[in-house]
Each structure stands twice: as structure tokens, then as C-alpha cells.
């Protein structure tokens, strides 16, 4: 697992530009999605002394009052465009990921032309993989969350108050691991589709499944470790934001918040790099066939009658 994480780090480190581009795309779309919110907020706050309650410190009461103002509009007017642009980001990620997989699988820096060609070539395949993913992950998640609901109901009957909480946490960990395993499987399938240029995605999915099954510990371990690193990054980042950024520093808050998001995004690319690395290792391995001695055909040689002395 350590080797896999190390090689994934190497691959991801060699291709940092992808993270940067995806991050900029993420930021740009979010900024566009925030236009309505921003306009509403500026309209109410820019000339109000009461707005200071939100600048120097964060008065939750003032924020609730702001959201309740009719001139701010319903929160949905800000949330709907933001949510739609989140889906746009998801779609663009699907479109541009094939190029990333190719870049990760190549030992050289692929050209822009290669990148886009790969993206265009594989986009429909990735859409199909996504639907297969939904077919597998959707029911799995539904079953897991159903089980969780049942267990929580049971835990709620316990007189031990924390039983509910611990059950919840335990269930979430199990759900996280299982869904991560499925995600890793489909990341392998995506690697296979791009690198093998296989148009039958079901074969890539089957191949991904076999690889996942054979290397379950290594791959899942790497994904979980990277996922935990991402979680810690988020937690520490938010704590630093609260501790080191003065409440009135808009620029400071922007820098810290964006650093957190950049690192989170990088974590996901690190996972993909792990999938590609494992895939390449699998491809590089030549199947070892045990040499078995070939038996010469046994032919009955008639024994010549011995002729004794002349």
C-alpha cells in the first residue's frame, strides 16, 4: 500500500497542472454561481452600519435577519444557480478526466492535442461508465443507508445515549469504505478505458472489478488513507481559518479557504493517480507460466537381435 501511495504521489506530483486547472474551473464556476448571492448581499450591506456585525465577528442573529429580508430574496434564488453550476463542474470533470488518466498513465508530458483528443474520444464511454456506476453504487448506498436506518432505530431504544451516535459513526465508516471501494473499482475501469482504448466499457468494468478484488487491500487502503488525509486537511484548514484569520480579513479568509479546497481537490486526484498506478503495475506484470518439461514421444524401438561374435 505504501508503494502504491508513493507511486501515486509521484504521478500526481508530476501532473500538478491538472489539479490547478480543475481547481480554477471549480473556482470560476462557484464564483459565477455566487453572483446572485453577492448582488443580494451588497444591496443590503454596503451602506449599512449594522453590517459590521457580520464583518468584525460573525453574528449569527444578524445573518439570519439578512437571509430573512424580502429584498435578499429567498435563499433558493442563490442556491439554485450554485447547485446547477456544481453539476456543471461535475459534468466538466467527466469530460476532462480521460485526458487526466492518459496524462497519468504516460511517462511523458502529453501534448494539449493528445489531451483533448483523448477527452473527446472517451467522453461517451465515461458517460456510460457513470451510468454503470449509478447502477452499482445507487442500490448499494440505498441498501446501506436502509440498514443504517434500521440500526439507528434499534440504537434509539437503548438507554445508553451515545449508542445512537456510535452506531451512526460506525455505519458511516462502513458506508464510506464500501462506497470508496466501488469508487476505486470504477476509477480502475476508467483507467482501463483510456489506456487500453477499449470501447466496450463493460469489459473495463469487469477488468476493474477483477483488479480490485485481487488488490483489494492495497487499493482500498490507499484510497482510505488519502480520504482520511483529505478529511484531516479539511478539519485542520477550518481550524486554522478560525484561529489565524482575523474576522475582518476578507483576503485572508479567501486565501485560507481556497487553499483548503485546492488540497481537497488534489486529494481526489491523488486517489485517481493511485488507481492508474495500480493499473499500470498490473499491465506491466507478465504472466509467469511454469515451465513444464516436454516429454519426448516414446516410440517402441524394436530391439535388434544381438549378434554375438563372428
Amino acid at each position: 500500500m505504501a508503494n502504491l501511495i508513493a507511486s501515486a504521489t509521484h504521478i500526481a506530483g508530476r501532473n500538478k497542472r491538472y489539479v490547478v486547472w480543475f481547481y480554477l474551473m471549480n473556482l470560476l464556476l462557484a464564483l459565477i454561481g455566487s453572483v446572485a448571492f453577492s448582488a443580494n448581499a451588497h444591496g443590503i450591506l454596503d451602506h449599512s452600519l449594522y453590517a459590521d456585525q457580520l464583518l468584525h465577528g460573525f453574528n449569527l442573529g444578524a445573518f439570519i435577519e439578512l437571509l430573512a429580508r424580502p429584498e435578499f430574496g429567498p435563499l433558493s434564488t442563490s442556491a439554485i444557480p450554485a447547485a446547477m453550476l456544481a453539476f456543471v463542474f461535475f459534468f466538466l470533470t467527466m469530460v476532462f478526466l480521460p485526458g487526466v488518466f492518459l496524462g497519468y498513465a504516460s511517462d511523458h508530458r502529453i501534448s494539449r492535442d493528445e489531451f483533448y483528443r483523448t477527452c473527446g474520444h472517451n467522453v461517451w464511454r465515461f458517460v456510460r461508465i457513470f451510468f454503470f456506476f449509478l447502477l452499482i453504487a445507487g442500490p448499494t448506498a440505498a441498501i446501506l443507508f436502509g440498514i443504517q436506518k434500521g440500526l439507528l432505530k434499534l440504537a434509539d431504544t437503548s438507554t445508553y445515549e451515545k449508542a445512537y451516535f456510535y452506531t451512526h459513526v460506525a455505519c458511516m465508516i462502513v458506508i464510506f469504505i464500501i462506497l470508496t471501494a466501488i469508487r476505486a473499482w470504477f476509477d480502475l475501469a476508467e483507467s482501463d478505458v483510456v489506456v487500453s482504448d477499449r470501447s466496450a466499457v463493460r469489459k473495463s468494468i469487469a477488468s476493474g472489478f477483477r483488479t480490485t478484488r485481487r488488490n483489494g487491500g492495497r487499493l482500498l487502503g490507499s484510497y482510505v488513507v488519502i480520504g482520511v488525509v483529505a478529511g484531516i486537511t479539511l478539519f485542520v484548514g477550518l481550524a486554522l481559518w478560525e484561529m489565524i484569520v482575523p474576522p475582518g480579513s476578507v483576503l485572508g479568509a479567501f486565501i485560507v479557504s481556497q487553499a483548503i479546497l485546492l488540497l481537497l481537490l488534489a486529494s481526489r486526484f491523488w486517489q485517481r493517480a493511485a488507481a492508474v498506478s495500480l493499473y499500470l503495475q498490473q499491465q506491466a506484470e507478465v504472466p509467469l507460466l511454469e515451465a513444464t518439461p516436454v516429454r519426448a514421444p516414446v516410440t517402441e524401438v524394436p530391439v535388434a537381435p544381438q549378434v554375438s561374435g563372428t
Binding site: A30, D46, L49, Y50, N59, E65, T159, F165, A253, L261
Partner: protein, 670 residues
């Protein structure tokens, strides 16, 4: 149709009628003699209070002996109620609350709750565990016999014939003025899984509103309302002696003081409690309570604090004790003495709907195992429920008709107490850089429903549950905090003290309260009360315009020079709402000069003009921040130059959330 008497034999008929009258009166005379033979009275006990004499005019004495069955969550009890007729007239009709009957599918409480929702439940689906009942098995009036068959359910508020939360009995022989009557009632309770802060959850029980309780004779009539989705209670002061038999392993807590606890030897114990000068009685059991005993040295004597915590919250026991003592200290100093010898604080079963409720000398808190110190939810709940010992417990207003007088006045006290302990800015929340004061909570509750209902309205007649909450709690608190700005904080405190001392152990009306404030402040405040208490007017000040321009703007080659150029300044402000309120306005100029204007607020708008060697910098209504009922704080000020930092900060938060959501989606999906 009345039968016609025969003409012949009239004398005989007269004799028969006379005889029948004598016969019919005979048992009554006998009964009167019987009543006379065993004179009834309300005990003058004082063992539960730090006073040598009773503190209330005692109307009732309840003596209840109950046995609880934890398997069926039900109990059977015998109640003996002695009633002292202080109505000043004979009483021949007595209504009784049977609150637990409110938890039946067609009852008014459930109907209203289904329609409007309440704090705890929504009734998407009826669950048999929600069923509650208070069945009277036998109803006897001493000296008048068994009247069980004559009990009649009445529905004085909504005429819902399926509602059985009030039952009435008519006595053949009226109780004379200053006379006594004794009711002997055998009843069976079925508790619901906690609803409206009463009932069971797992192996926990909180028994509130659990026994047949007589209504209040008030202002010449019986006041005994049905149980409604949003309303609370109203009852007379008296003495309570309650015995409850429960399993031996249960930890028991109740209103009043513990008198005895006897092991019955059959796996049960009988616990006896006594209460003086209280108007309700609640009790609780759970095998898992952990008890913290503490004492508060009150001005009338020591108060034993019994803090019954869930084991998982034991690390918060001190926190609960601290807020209780701090609150007691302030209430004693500000309003008057706490006369009871005990106060029991119950941390109810997690997930139960028994949190945050008040009964005399007995309150329930509300916390979670994970609550950080900066989130002062436990303090808020405990402070609020303790406050009800004054505003409900002692000043026993009619919670059905004047909910704002207990919940609202108490919310005002809550604002004052929490601010004085934790500071105004973060009295409820001060964690991770996020703050919220009790003012903010109450104000936001109010402004969300500001013009929907007046404060002075029957509790069950609000537009909806949100309005009930927003007006009775939030608006009242903000109206009183604002009133403090009108008459001064010291005068307000004096008025509250006078009100408490004058009306404790009585049932004051809204006018009693308002007139006390006028009397103490020496001011005619009708202009304020008519709008704030009886009206639904909105207060909303707005700065329409604040602009400066050079006085010599028309001259050619004119150049501005700071400190030398003269400017004309126009400030135009208005009153958007209908609420008329005098207000101060600060106008600041960019040379540091400040002008304070006072506007009577009568007209819709007012214009102020200035001619100075400075430009206007900002205009602000209510610069001392004394007004808390303005619906929109954002338009109360205007700065000539825009400060975009606050909006940018919030936009940054919003962008962060958007980006995070987008990444989360992509993390899992592709």
C-alpha cells in the same frame, strides 16, 4: 309538557307535595349535618416553604395516592380534593381538566397539533404510543354521593364534541360562599410516549398534568379551557400531598419536599411528597438518574437544589448547578425572594419530548452529551424554566389567555439574566468565532411574524404555532427590552419588582401588569401599550437619503478642498411601518462632527438640512441601540461611502460552500 293537576282533592295534592318536599330535603339536611360534623379546611402547612405562614390564599388541597405500572405506562390513583369556595357566591358547578385526554386522535390538542405542528411533533402518522387518557372511574362528592354518571364532557372553546379534556359536574347542593367541598376521585391514567412534556420514553417517565384538576373561578366565572396545541395551564394555589408507588429501583423526583420513602417489600416503594403554595404537581422516575445536591442561600432561607442528571450528561451537572444559582441570585435581587425550600432540576431522557418545561419547584432542562461550553443551550433552557418559578409559578397568570405574561415576561427576564452572566453579544452562542445573543434569538423570532397577531390574544387563537411562539416569547421580550429604553433600566427593574411583589401568589391580568409599569414609571405609556401589546403595528425606520454637495457647485472652475469647501447636506429619513415611536438620529460628518436629532416619529418622514464645511459620513437611527422592535436593522443606518467588505466576506463563505459541494459531488460520482 307539564301535567295539569285535578281540581278535586286539591288539599290532598298540597299535602303530598309538601311531604315530597320534606322528603327530598331530608337527605340534604342529613348531608349538611354530615359535612358540618367533619369540618373541611385547607391545611396551613408551611413545611415546604421558608415562611412561618402560608404565602398564598389557598383554594385547593390535593391528596393523591397513585400506583404506577411501568409495563403499561399507566397508573391508578385515588384523589381527594378539598376545595374552598372563595368565589363570593354559591357554586354548584365544577369543571375539571383531564389534560391527558388531549392525546386522543380526535381531541382538540391533536387536531390543532396536526394542523399547526408544535415544538416536538407533527403527527404525520398516528401511533398508538401517542395515546393518552385520564379516565375517571368513580367521582364522589362527599355528602352528595357518587356522581360518576352525571359527569359531562364540555368543550367551552371550540365545541369539538370529541374533546374530553374538560369534564364538568353539577352538584345538587351548591357550595356556599366560604364553604368547602370535598371530591373523592378514582382515576386511571394512560401516559403517551412523551408528548407536550409529559409521558414515558424507554424506562423514563415524566408525569405532568396527570390528575383531574379543578378549574379556576376567576372574574366571576369558571376558567377551565380545553387542552390546546399551543396553550399551557392555569390553576389555583393550594397544598399537595402526593404518594406514588413505583418500582424499588427507580430514582424519584417531584414538586415540593420529600416526606418519606417506604420500601413495600414487594419490589416497590412508596414515595410521599408535600408542596405548599403551589398550583401543580409533577414527578419523574428513571432508574438511571444521577443526583447532584447543592444549596442556594436565598433571602428567605436555604433552597435545596436537586439536580437529576442523565448519566451521560454527568460532566455537565456542575454547569447546570452554576446557572441555577446564578439565575436564582439575579431573580432574588431583581424581582423578589424565592420562598420554596426546594428546587428540582430534571435532565430528562434524551430524545424525549419532556425537555424545557416548568412545574412549581420542578423544572426540566435540555442538553446533549456533546454540547460544547460555547453553546449555551443548557443554560438557556434551565434559566428559562427557572424563570417560570416567578412568571407562572408565583405570579400565576392565565397561560391560556395571556401566554405572553408568562412566556414573554419570562423571555424578557431570560434576556436580562443571560446578558448579565455571559454578555449581550454571545450570551447563547460563542463558539468558533460565531456569536449570537439572546436578544438576537428573541428578535428573529419576533420579526418573522411581526404583524400576524397581537400579544393580547388567547393562546389558541394565534394564526399558527410560529406566530404563537414569535409573538408570545419573542415580541414580548423585545417590547419589554425596548420599554426599558423608554422608562430607563432602573425604573423598569423597579416596576418588575413591584409587579412581582404585588401579584405573587395571585392571578393578575394584563392590565395589572401594564398599570404597574405606568404607576412605577409615573408615565402614561398607553401610546406604547396600545401599539405594542394590543396592536400589530410594525416599527421600521429607514434612511432614504444622505447626500452632500458643494454649496458653490454652480461656480466655474470650482475645486473641492477638504476642510474649506462648504457643503449642503440633506438627510431624509422615514417611518415605513405604522408604529409611531420617538427616536434619536445621529448624523456624522467627515470632520468628526456629530449632530443628534430627535424625531417624534409622528409624520411619515422628516428632512434635515445642514450647511457645513464637511460632508455627511453616516446617518444612524437609534444610535444608543435601545430599540429592539424595529423589523429591519439593516436600513436603520446609511453610510455615504459603501463598505463592500461585509458582503465580500459572506460571498467568500458562499463561494466556499459552492466549491465544496461541487467537489463533493465529483469526488463520488466520477
Amino acid at each position: 309538557m307539564i301535567p295539569k293537576l285535578p281540581v278535586r282533592g286539591t288539599a290532598l295534592w298540597r299535602s303530598l307535595i309538601a311531604l315530597s318536599v320534606v322528603i327530598s330535603c331530608w337527605p340534604a339536611q342529613l348531608m349538611a349535618e354530615e359535612i358540618h360534623a367533619t369540618p373541611l379546611s385547607i391545611p396551613n402547612t408551611v413545611s415546604a416553604i421558608n415562611s412561618s405562614v402560608p404565602m398564598s390564599q389557598r383554594v385547593v388541597a390535593y391528596n393523591i395516592d397513585a400506583k404506577y405500572d411501568p409495563k403499561t405506562h399507566s397508573l391508578d390513583a385515588d384523589e381527594v380534593l378539598t376545595y374552598h369556595n372563595l368565589a363570593g357566591q354559591p357554586l354548584d358547578t365544577f369543571p375539571f381538566h383531564l389534560y391527558l385526554n388531549g392525546f386522543q386522535p380526535k381531541a382538540t390538542w391533536i387536531r390543532e397539533t396536526k394542523r399547526e405542528g408544535t415544538r416536538d411533533v407533527n403527527f404525520e402518522k398516528w401511533d398508538s404510543k401517542d395515546y393518552g387518557a385520564d379516565d375517571i372511574k368513580r367521582f364522589e362528592v362527599v355528602g352528595q354521593g357518587d356522581l360518576t354518571s352525571q359527569l359531562q364532557f364540555i368543550q367551552p372553546d371550540d365545541g369539538n364534541k370529541d374533546d374530553k379534556s374538560v369534564v364538568q359536574v353539577h352538584l345538587a347542593h351548591p357550595v356556599p360562599p366560604d364553604g368547602y367541598v370535598q371530591f373523592r376521585i378514582k382515576f386511571h391514567d394512560q401516559f403517551p410516549e412523551t408528548l407536550e412534556r409529559t409521558g414515558w420514553k424507554r424506562d423514563f417517565l415524566l408525569a405532568g398534568q396527570w390528575f383531574p384538576k379543578v378549574g379556576v373561578w376567576w372574574h366571576g366565572a369558571w376558567n377551565c379551557h380545553q387542552f390546546h396545541g399551543s396553550t399551557e395551564f392555569f390553576a389555583d394555589f393550594g397544598v399537595y400531598d402526593v404518594k406514588v408507588t413505583v418500582p424499588q429501583n427507580e430514582v424519584f423526583g417531584a414538586s415540593g419536599i420529600e416526606v418519606s420513602s417506604v420500601n413495600n417489600g414487594d419490589g416497590t416503594k412508596t414515595v410521599a411528597y408535600h408542596g405548599d403554595d403551589i398550583h401543580d404537581f409533577a414527578w419523574t422516575i428513571s432508574p438511571r438518574y444521577k443526583i447532584l445536591n447543592d444549596t442556594f442561600q436565598g433571602s428567605m432561607g436555604p433552597v435545596a437544589l436537586k439536580i437529576m442528571m442523565q448519566p451521560g450528561h454527568w460532566d455537565q451537572a456542575e454547569r447546570h448547578a452554576r446557572i441555577l444559582k446564578e439565575t436564582l441570585d439575579r431573580f432574588e435581587r431583581w424581582y423578589g425572594p424565592y420562598p420554596y425550600k426546594t428546587l428540582t432540576m430534571v435532565d430528562p431522557e434524551p430524545g424525549s419530548a419532556a425537555e424545557g418545561m416548568e412545574y412549581p419547584t420542578f423544572i426540566t432542562g435540555g442538553t446533549n452529551w456533546w454540547v460544547p461550553n460555547g453553546l449555551r443551550e443548557p443554560e438557556l433552557v434551565v434559566e428559562h424554566e427557572f424563570g417560570h418559578q416567578y412568571w407562572y409559578g408565583m405570579v400565576a397568570t392565565n397561560e391560556f389567555e395571556d401566554a405572553w405574561m408568562d412566556e414573554g415576561i419570562n423571555s424578557y427576564s431570560e434576556v436580562k439574566v443571560l446578558d448579565s452572566i455571559f454578555g449581550q453579544k454571545g450570551s447563547v452562542l460563542d463558539q468558533w468565532g460565531i456569536t449570537m445573543g439572546e436578544h438576537d434569538i428573541q428578535r428573529n423570532e419576533y420579526i418573522s411574524v411581526a404583524d400576524l397577531d397581537p400579544m393580547a390574544r388567547n393562546g389558541w387563537q394565534y394564526a399558527n404555532y410560529n406566530s404563537y411562539g414569535g409573538i408570545t416569547y419573542g415580541k414580548t421580550a423585545m417590547v419589554l427590552v425596548t420599554l426599558e429604553g423608554v422608562i430607563g433600566p432602573d425604573t423598569m427593574q423597579k416596576a418588575m419588582h413591584t409587579y412581582f411583589m404585588r401579584y405573587r401568589f395571585t392571578h393578575p391580568t394584563k392590565e395589572d401588569f401594564l398599570k404597574t409599569i405606568e404607576e412605577v414609571s409615573g408615565k402614561d405609556l398607553r401610546w406604547y401599550f396600545n401599539q405594542a401589546v394590543y396592536g400589530t403595528q410594525i416599527l421600521d425606520f429607514d434612511v432614504m437619503k444622505a447626500d452632500s454637495w458643494p454649496s458653490d457647485w454652480y461656480k466655474e472652475n470650482f475645486k473641492e478642498k477638504k476642510g474649506e469647501t462648504e457643503y449642503d447636506t440633506e438627510v431624509l429619513v422615514r417611518r415605513k411601518g405604522e408604529f409611531i415611536f420617538p427616536v434619536d438620529i445621529d448624523v456624522k460628518f467627515d470632520n468628526g462632527e456629530k449632530v443628534r436629532e430627535h424625531w417624534d416619529g409622528q409624520d411619515r418622514w422628516v428632512r434635515y438640512m445642514y450647511h457645513k464645511k464637511a460632508k455627511v459620513e453616516s446617518v444612524e437611527f437609534d444610535p444608543d441601540h435601545k430599540i429592539f422592535i424595529d423589523r429591519n436593522n439593516f436600513n436603520n443606518s446609511y453610510t455615504a461611502e459603501a463598505n463592500m467588505a461585509p458582503a465580500r466576506k459572506l460571498t467568500n463563505y458562499w463561494t466556499f460552500i459552492n466549491q465544496f459541494f461541487a467537489q463533493f459531488l465529483s469526488w463520488w460520482m466520477v
